[in-house]
Symmetry: C2
Subunit: 573 residues, 2 copies
């Protein structure tokens, strides 16, 4: 399990030890006059709410599961009370548990999940499917409905059930975490190739339930593109699809389960398209004079049918953050690097944008795609920084989420917002979002940072991933968060962009679902919901908005509860 109050491994925390430039740069950018220490409260100060108990359900459960599969203790309930959204962490850090699950169950097979769901339906108990808990849109949080709430953890359903190497098909249990899943497949020479930022702590079932995109989605597709068949346990029985490569038998029910966010049932087994582990890989850094040059290079590559496996283009502001995350290099190496920077500046790289370019697959294809993409990139003034930058990126790629805890420890709001838009709108949208958010930071008197990277490409457009931060407004931290969240979301929707590209809906994006899928689209989703879950037991309060979408959405900041602060005791990363 991750930290109950923050991101990732409880033994690891973000450190500025070898990053002397980082805090000064943050402080200057966000106009932070003093480094206000604001760590999470200690575990002992957390007050867990009394659990609701449905005794007849509990009796049934005891006959269906072993004792070690049923956990009602406070630590386990706390671990499953929140995902990792900004409000989640804000509350958890203060020791405020708004609604914990009343019980956590750990089924070990599809059949056990069927038993649990049947019992929940029989006794009117709410069920929240839970994978790794990395969700940042409120997708796993219990909501008060007057019922007992059970979180159904897939943690023990993490096996590779079968692999058909000839057909490139693997059957994997939904609770398999990224590293376990890849290790199992790679031991047999295969890979799924799905590496979202949350890879270390998220599960296959969670990826599918939220329509996740991995870093190499340009090569392998979003997770829903890799689904061959699924099993999902619903209150109306188990929905299963056939293991066939393609079908035209009615609407694709795999795509109905993908993105259902636990509101229709719990995905238990996933039949996935896999591929032989790539024989060759080439990941390198490229420096462009501007973000615009990088965008033009990408479009040119794709229109020339030169398709890298990964393209991650950081704008000049994210590039500046990346530069300031680096340890300064001394001695000869530092001298050379400094000279190099001067040369770049002299050549007009005043607003540099770093791109990570990854190509993987069959050897000859990799060499060709790399060489030919680099030739196109060169025409757009892209400067090849070589493999070392790619290796550093590979090493650090899963570490950035830890930085949020570090800045939240210091009174800083930090959030992300991702979307997608057609190519013709990428730059206009980028500009509009930056202008809008910066105007808001200025109006609030909290000078902000907003950076962006392009993270996934398609023939028709791309995903833009924004990260923004500013000083918290003490006493109204959540009002501040919700105002920014609403602003960035509505800026997306008013300007031809998706509500979300890969973070899903949960509670945080729920008010805007009508704008995203139309009124009739909501009618369709509600029909599915009441058809498969007529009592509304599965993950209530998520995905599908009520009649007043914004009602209850923005939570007011509660007065700080003064608890003991968390002792450090963590490794640096």
């Amino acid at each position: 399990m991750m930290k109950w109050w923050g991101w990732g491994d409880p033994k690891i925390s973000f450190s500025i030890e070898h990053k002397p430039n980082l805090w000064p740069w943050i402080a200057k950018t966000l106009d932070v006059r003093e480094m206000r220490e604001n760590p999470p409260v200690s575990r002992d100060s957390v007050r867990m709410p009394e659990p609701v108990r449905n005794e007849s359900f509990l009796r049934g459960l005891k006959t269906a599961l072993s004792q070690n599969q049923i956990a009602g203790d406070e630590d386990v309930r706390l671990d499953h009370s929140y995902g990792k959204s900004y409000p989640d962490l804000f509350y958890a850090r203060r020791g405020i548990i708004r609604r914990a699950p009343d019980l956590v169950v750990f089924p070990e097979s599809h059949d056990e999940v069927e038993k649990i769901v049947a019992l929940a339906c029989e006794h009117g108990v709410s069920v929240i499917p839970f994978g790794g808990g990395t969700n940042i849109v409120g997708g796993v949080n219990p909501k008060e409905t007057g019922r007992m709430v059970v979180t159904l953890s897939l943690a023990r359903m993490n096996r590779l059930l079968s692999l058909d190497p000839r057909s490139n098909i693997a059957v994997i249990e939904a609770g398999s975490l990224g590293p376990k899943l890849e290790a199992d497949l790679q031991a047999k020479g295969y890979s799924l190739g799905h590496f979202p930022d949350s890879f270390e702590f998220s599960t296959l079932g969670g990826w599918i339930a939220t329509r996740s995109a991995g870093m190499q989605s340009d090569a392998y597709g979003k997770i829903e593109d890799m689904v061959v068949a699924l099993k999902m346990v619903t209150p109306q029985g188990t929905l299963t699809t056939r293991t066939v490569p393609a079908s035209s038998a009615g609407p694709d029910l795999n795509r109905l389960m993908a993105g259902s966010e636990g509101t229709l049932g719990v995905i238990t087994e996933c039949t996935m398209r896999v591929h032989a582990f790539p024989a060759a890989r080439d990941y390198r850094g490229i420096l462009f004079p501007t973000f615009e040059d990088g965008l033009a290079a990408i479009e040119d590559c794709l229109n020339s049918d030169r398709h890298p496996s990964l393209i991650r283009l950081q704008d000049t502001f994210e590039t500046e953050l990346a530069f300031n995350m680096k340890a300064p290099t001394t001695g000869l190496k530092g001298f050379i690097q400094n000279q190099f920077k001067k040369i770049l500046k002299a050549r007009g790289y005043h607003f540099p944008a770093i791109m990570i370019l990854g190509v993987e697959g069959e050897k000859l294809n990799v060499r060709r795609t790399r060489d030919e993409a680099l030739a196109i990139i060169k025409k757009h003034k892209g400067f090849d920084l070589g493999l070392e930058v790619g290796a550093v990126w590979q090493k650090d790629k899963f570490n950035l989420p830890y930085l949020r805890d570090f800045v939240m420890d210091r009174g800083i709001l930090c959030d992300v917002a991702e979307t997608s838009t057609p190519w013709a709108n990428v730059l206009p949208l980028y500009t509009k979002v930056r202008e809008t958010m910066n105007a808001k930071f200025a109006a609030d008197g909290t000078p902000g940072f907003i950076g962006c990277h392009l993270s996934h490409t398609y023939k028709a457009g791309a995903c833009l991933y924004f990260t923004y931060a500013c000083r918290q407004q003490p006493g109204r931290e959540l009002e501040q968060y919700y105002a920014l969240k609403k602003l960035v979301t509505e800026t997306f929707l008013k300007n031809g962009a998706a509500l979300t590209h890969h973070h899903a809906v949960g509670t945080e994006h729920r008010p805007w679902m009508e704008q995203e899928v139309s009124k009739t689209g909501l009618t369709a989703l509600r029909a599915l919901k009441s058809g498969l879950d007529p009592e509304g037991l599965f993950n209530p309060g998520k995905l599908i908005p009520g009649p007043e979408p914004l009602a209850g959405w923005a939570q007011p900041t509660e007065p700080n509860q003064e608890g003991a602060r968390e002792p450090a005791g963590t490794q640096s990363r």
Copy 2:
């Protein structure tokens, strides 16, 4: 419009004029002792049923549409009474119209469709969306429900509404026929790249409603993969999705509309991913000693990441048919070809299998993929027949459906069945289907033909497309058809294959939807249906089975009605 009694352009018919080997080969293969002429009845002999009239609906319609958009005359109703399934043609050829639409309307805009649907809902009138009428699973046939039935033809909604060349996105009205759509796009340098066998007579909206696959789906995907956004008019309003390249906002509603077969609403506008018209194309023929060698070559190509745009591998039986369709070549050319055939036979090509290999796209990529695929193919004893065979195939590729009319004119049953299955199961399934069908032909005393081609490939498997034929059993032609249809379908489902890969469900595959999508999957589909179309007005009797799936499925053959026969007056093709 196509022929009311058969396939394609009424001015064109299949001819054996330059194919002297064809009829003798058919007669020998199917044990046809005499060429029994059995042409369709004349138009005058067709008895059209009296239309049901909903007067209040008709009054409303007259205020909403112009007079020339409302057609109640018998010719137009006849043209919209059937699709092109074997039973459809069998009935039509005998002049039996089981249920005609009572009216056909021709909206010219999305807004007009909204008006028609609103009126239909207000007055309880059934609506059947109609594209080109090529459906071969009963998808456009009116069913008796006691209501007035209106067929809503999209024929006049065929415009390219907009093209965003930078984003590779085009907005196209759903009624655009293949040739019109491609001409409009190609005039601007773009292409959709979707060329199903029915291309000349089918529409974009029909392709999406049935999850069609074009011949080049290996390069561009099935039609649902090309959808960016859709507009669909339902009884609960218009469902619209956003024009974004990718999203994670709930289940993908584009995939809910795709495959809905007119049962949830009518698709009016399609926002599609297009691509610049390919700069280079290479289509050629390959000859393999056996079907198995061809299959091995394909798998080897795909596993080596050499991906042609089109692979169409005919088994030895379809290859034999193709050889017998050819005009004999005389003189020096004939001599050389005969020598060549002898050499091939001497080298072990006793059961030859022809493959069409197509590569298109950017020039250098095309050359490389072709050369490297050919090198792999050579290892599997594939013999390059060159571009001429590819050109002949390109010229004739849309003509095969005319052959069915020719054989039905001569008392022969002819049908097709397509499916998909994982690679490991392709050959076992192929063998099982052939054995099963041939055993049935033998048991019936009607020696049969069953050929197969592999028509679409995926990382995880492929589509197998079977064509079978045998003598009709006079007086029980439909019982015979339904017995074979049931047998081939159940052989697919019992042996790990899809109910249908690209022909959709309609009425012909409807009884097996539970095996395909599970009981709970049907619950989901029924929930969608009752949520969007609570009165059951849209395309009743299709896609979703009733409580007794096979009830009413197989129609008994009615005694022949002796009508006047159709005069020829058609060109040969």
